[in-house]
């Protein structure tokens, strides 16, 4: 594992905790920033609002994006990330409860790198997170 930050966009505190637990169980030790709504997520990515002044050239190694979010929803967050030249190639994985067809299609249309549905079974959830971390943070070569 390396120093790349994981941005977890998750409004549900339980899910946040379970995700952290799953990451931890899989020995993913990258720094983790949690944004609890769409605004916070965009502020972090673009160095605005609460994150004004952050060095935006340092992009998260992976964004785990929930779709159903307060203020600005996940799809809109994704759209804005992809609309910006700086973040256009940043890996974004949708991690959400729904597997509604419309969500999946829209996510990919907007440029999501992958779409993961959170399983109810925590064992499966842990496995999913493990594979996610493995792939995106270790196997995947990021765009220069």
């Amino acid at each position: 594992m390396n120093e790349r930050t994981i941005l977890l966009v998750e409004d549900n505190a339980d899910d946040e905790l379970l995700t952290l637990r799953a990451l931890k169980k899989n020995n993913v030790q990258n720094s983790l920033v949690v944004a609890r709504d769409g605004v916070q997520a965009l502020d972090y990515v673009f160095g605005t609002g609460a994150y004004a002044g952050r060095d935006v050239t340092v992009l998260p190694g992976l964004v785990l994006l929930d779709l159903k979010l307060p203020k600005i929803d996940g799809l809109e967050v994704l759209r804005r990330i992809r609309a910006d030249e700086r973040t256009r190639r940043m890996p974004v994985t949708v991690l959400t409860s729904s597997k509604e067809e419309q969500d999946v299609i829209k996510s990919y249309d907007l440029g999501a790198n992958s779409y993961i549905r959170k399983p109810v079974d925590f064992t499966q959830f842990t496995e999913a997170v493990r594979q996610l971390g493995m792939y995106w943070l270790m196997l995947n070569e990021v765009s220069p």
Binding site: R21, E100, F125
Partner: protein, 873 residues
């Protein structure tokens, strides 16, 4: 009885009394025949008939007496016959020779001339030496010889004892003469035929007298003297010899002015005479001079000739005439003059009608085949029967002349009816016979009527007959002229027209649609039954008024209620030349609550030249239709509004459902993850603080959470298959089934299971939804065969009442058929979850999909005997 008086005969018989032998008998028989013959001839000689009858009776008695005596003599003095023969021969010869009026000829059995008297020489023109020994057939015209008449007459005489008749004979010089002939068979006492006596008398003069009687007789004179016919007789060169009163009246000349002065050509239109001469020259191929010759050329060649000619009156005015030309011939057939009979075509009372009729008449006369002229005497006996009559009626003139009246060639029923009608009309009894045909004409009334003629062969034809009384100079009726035209074609046309009109009338009268016919000034000429019904007329007269009078009764307005002034009424618009169609108008009876909605149509009717003749207006009551249309329009509006409402509601409901599903999908599962996730965290992090029971509880919480997660997923699936859009593609079911089967195998590779999947199954369906069906059904089969040592799952197609039904058969746990209806309900499970895990939503999803595609699904099975699921698409 010229030349043979009773006294003379008696004197001759005195001679015969002293004679013997069969020749004497022949002489007597001949004389007796002769006297009878003479009496027969007397029929034509009316002034002598009484005297003849008297003398004939006397002769007959004498004859009987003589014959009796002769028989006696013949029998008693037979022995003396031989010696007296030469003497009696000579006497007989002298007697016969003396008969100058008669050709008395003896013929042998073969008809050869055996003896010849001076009478024969005189009558027939042969000398005895020339003719004796030749066949008597030389006396007959060639056509009669060819027809076998001479032989036939001899045969008849031989069979019947005698033959008597009239006919043409030919003299030695080739001229013909009309004669009366008596041939008597001569037989000896054994009855053997010995020969014939032939007695011939030239009655040409009698015949001529008969003809003359007809031709120059009262009938002819009547025509001659009729003021309605111009009769002009000329000599052979055309110089007028007779110029009757009709001619005087028509042409304005007195007879004295023209007789022996001019020819008819000089009172004819010169241009027409020239034109006629040219036409005839062309037609006949010989030069005809444009003068009198042109008028009579055809007649001079024996051709019946009737033509139109314009006569020029003395005062220079002209009139069209129809002229019939006849050549007048002497006994030898030489033309001695011409008779031109003309009728004035302008002399008609009603000029227009007359012109039309005269035109038709002229044509008919010209084409004599279409024109029958029958002249009768005063009693109706036919005297003239022209070629047209012969053609139309099928009789020859000879068959009817002097024989019958026109009534006998007319439909008897019509004559009876005509007589009855006339009797009623005239207030006097008219006999149903010839009188009925000419009664009006006999009273001086111009009479043209329709009559059905009956042909010789019994067939009939309708004729139009014009009857004219023929009168002598004193005005007494001496006959009638019936001019008839074959009316068949017109009659048929009339009948057809009448039938058409009647049909049309009936149709119009029975139409539900009102039909009004109006004059161009708005006066209503005709309206049918429907018009009266539509307007609620009580009195039929109400419908026959002028358009303007309707305004007193009715008020018209447009559909929108705007008042229509009279000049905007439909009929008024049609009269101005508009063509209307479906003009809807509200009509109200003034001061009543009667009101209807009418639809008007119509147009002006024009003649062939485009001149308007009348207006036709059609009316239909569309009140109910209009009301119904209003109701329907209202219903449609309501329905549309309701559909919009419902659609909106449905849309809202759908949106809500969508949002609900979305929300369920997102939010309902999160708490389950918390339950499961933190239970797991407890188990992992605090296992040492929980005893076995505590751990078991946590395990149950996790199982419950996961099961609920499955339930939520399946319900969302079910909801999704109900909502999502459907496509239709050609889907390879066999391939899809194999893929699903592979998934099953992959999920539990350790299981011994056999999939039997039919090849080549293709269906038109939604591939995504069908995959859900197959996944559910295969999943079902896979699940319920889990406890079979060797599972067998078969997918194929069968025929169910002509419908393709796919089936999935397994040899698994099966089910109790009593509950088969519950299989497809949501959350319906027939097995304990412990034995076969499941949510009870899969088959409900299958059913939803199949039903959405218009198919059906059903299941068969028994406990422990497997199950078969069928579905159609």
């Amino acid at each position: 009885m010229p030349g043979l008086s009773a006294r003379a005969f008696f004197a001759n018989s005195q001679e015969v009394e002293r004679s013997f032998g069969w020749l004497s008998a022949v002489a007597v028989a001949t004389l007796a025949s002769l006297s009878l013959f003479g009496w027969t001839l007397g029929r034509f000689d009316a002034p002598h008939s009484i005297a003849l009858t008297t003398s004939s009776a006397a002769l007959f008695l004498v004859l009987v007496f003589l014959l009796g005596r002769l028989l006696y003599r013949i029998m008693a003095a037979r022995v003396r016959a031989e010696e007296a023969l030469s003497d009696s021969d000579e006497r007989f010869r002298l007697f016969v020779e003396g008969m100058h009026e008669y050709a008395i000829i003896l013929l042998d059995r073969e008809g050869r001339v055996a003896s010849w008297n001076t009478g024969a020489e005189r009558v027939k023109g042969y000398k005895s030496a020339e003719i004796v020994g030749r066949s008597f057939s030389v006396f007959y015209p060639p056509d009669e010889v060819a027809a076998g008449r001479p032989a036939m007459e001899l045969k008849l005489a031989a069979e019947q004892g005698h033959w008597e008749g009239e006919g043409w004979r030919v003299r030695a010089d080739g001229t013909r003469f009309w004669c009366r002939v008596l041939i008597t068979a001569l037989k000896d006492d054994t009855g053997r035929l010995r020969g014939f006596s032939k007695l011939t008398r030239d009655i040409t003069e009698g015949k001529s007298a008969e003809d003359a009687l007809l031709k120059a007789g009262a009938l002819q004179r009547a025509i001659f003297d009729s003021a309605n016919f111009s009769s002009i007789a000329t000599d052979a060169k055309g110089i007028i010899q007779i110029f009757n009163v009709g001619a005087e009246r028509m042409l304005g000349y007195t007879a004295a002015e023209v007789m022996n002065q001019i020819t008819p050509a000089e009172i004819s239109d010169p241009q027409e005479v020239i034109a006629r001469a040219q036409a005839l020259s062309l037609e006949c191929g010989t030069e005809i001079t444009p003068g009198f010759e042109a008028l009579v050329f055809k007649a001079s060649r024996g051709i019946e000739d009737i033509y139109e000619l314009t006569y020029v009156r003395k005062d220079g005015t002209r009139f069209p005439a129809v002229v019939s030309v006849t050549a007048l011939r002497d006994a030898q057939g030489s033309i001695i003059g011409y008779l031109l009979i003309g009728t004035d075509n302008t002399a008609r009372k009603q000029a227009e009608e007359a012109l039309l009729k005269a035109g038709a008449l002229q044509r008919a006369i010209f084409d004599s085949a279409n024109f029958s002229s029958i002249a009768t005497d005063a009693k109706g006996i036919i005297q003239i029967f022209n070629v047209g009559a012969e053609r139309m009626l099928g009789y020859t003139a000879a068959e009817v002349m002097n024989q019958i009246t026109p009534a006998e060639i007319s439909d008897p029923q019509e004559i009876i009816a005509r007589a009855a009608a006339l009797s009623l009309e005239r207030g006097t009894t008219i006999n149903p016979g010839f009188e009925a045909l000419v009664f009006k004409a006999s009273r001086g009334i111009e009479d043209i009527y329709e009559l059905t003629y009956v042909r010789k062969d019994g067939t009939r034809f309708p004729a139009v007959v014009s009857v004219t009384a023929l009168r002598d100079a004193q005005g007494s009726i001496i006959g009638y002229l019936l001019i008839g035209t074959d009316n068949t074609a017109r009659k048929q046309a009339d009948d057809a027209l009448r039938k058409n009109e009647a049909q049309l009338q009936t149709i119009i009268e029975n139409l539900d649609e009102g039909v009004v016919v109006s004059a161009l000034d708005g006066k209503l000429l005709h309206s049918n039954h429907a018009v009266r019904e539509l307007h609620g007329y009580v009195n039929p007269d109400e419908s026959r008024r002028h358009l303007s009078e309707f305004a007193e009764t009715f008020e018209l307005s447009g559909i929108d209620g705007t008042h229509l002034a009279k000049d905007q009424w439909p009929l008024a618009r049609i009269l101005r030349g508009e063509r209307l169609r479906g003009v809807e108008v509200r009509i109200r009876r003034i001061q009543t609550d009667w009101h209807r909605v009418f639809s008007y149509g119509g147009t002006l009717v024009q003649d062939a030249g485009g001149q308007p003749l009348m207006a036709v207006l059609t009316i239909s009551d569309i009140t109910e239709r209009r009301q119904a249309a209003d109701v329907i329009r209202q219903l449609n509006t309501d329905l549309e509004r309701r559909v919009i409402e419902r659609t909106t509601q449905l849309q809202t409901a759908n949106n809500e459902l969508e949002a609900f599903s979305y929300s369920v999908s997102h939010d309902l599962r999160a708490p389950l993850r918390s339950l499961d996730g933190f239970s797991q965290a407890l188990l992992e992090d605090y296992a040492d603080k929980l005893d076995a029971e505590g751990q078991n509880y946590l395990a149950r919480i996790r199982a419950g959470s996961q099961r609920m997660g499955l339930l939520i997923d399946d319900l969302l699936n079910l909801s999704r298959v109900s909502r999502g859009e459907m496509t239709r593609d050609l889907v390879n079911l066999s391939k899809m089934a194999n893929e699903v089967a592979d998934e099953m195998r992959a999920s539990a590779p350790e299981r011994a299971a056999e999939f039997v999947i039919a090849h080549g199954l293709v269906a038109e369906t939604d591939p995504r939804l069908l995959r859900i069906v197959l996944t559910n059904l295969f999943g079902n089969a896979w699940k319920f065969t889990a406890k079979q040592p060797s599972a067998r799952i078969e997918f194929g197609v069968s025929d169910e009442d002509g419908e393709k039904a796919y089936f999935l058969r397994d040899n698994g746990a099966g089910f109790d058929p009593a509950y088969s209806s519950k299989l497809f309900g949501v959350f319906q499970r027939l097995h304990e979850g412990v034995d076969f895990p499941g949510t009870g939503i899969g088959l409900a999803t299958v059913q939803r999909i199949v039903q959405r595609q218009g198919g059906r699904v059903w299941a068969e099975g028994k406990v422990d005997e497997g199950a078969t699921f069928h579905f159609t698409l």
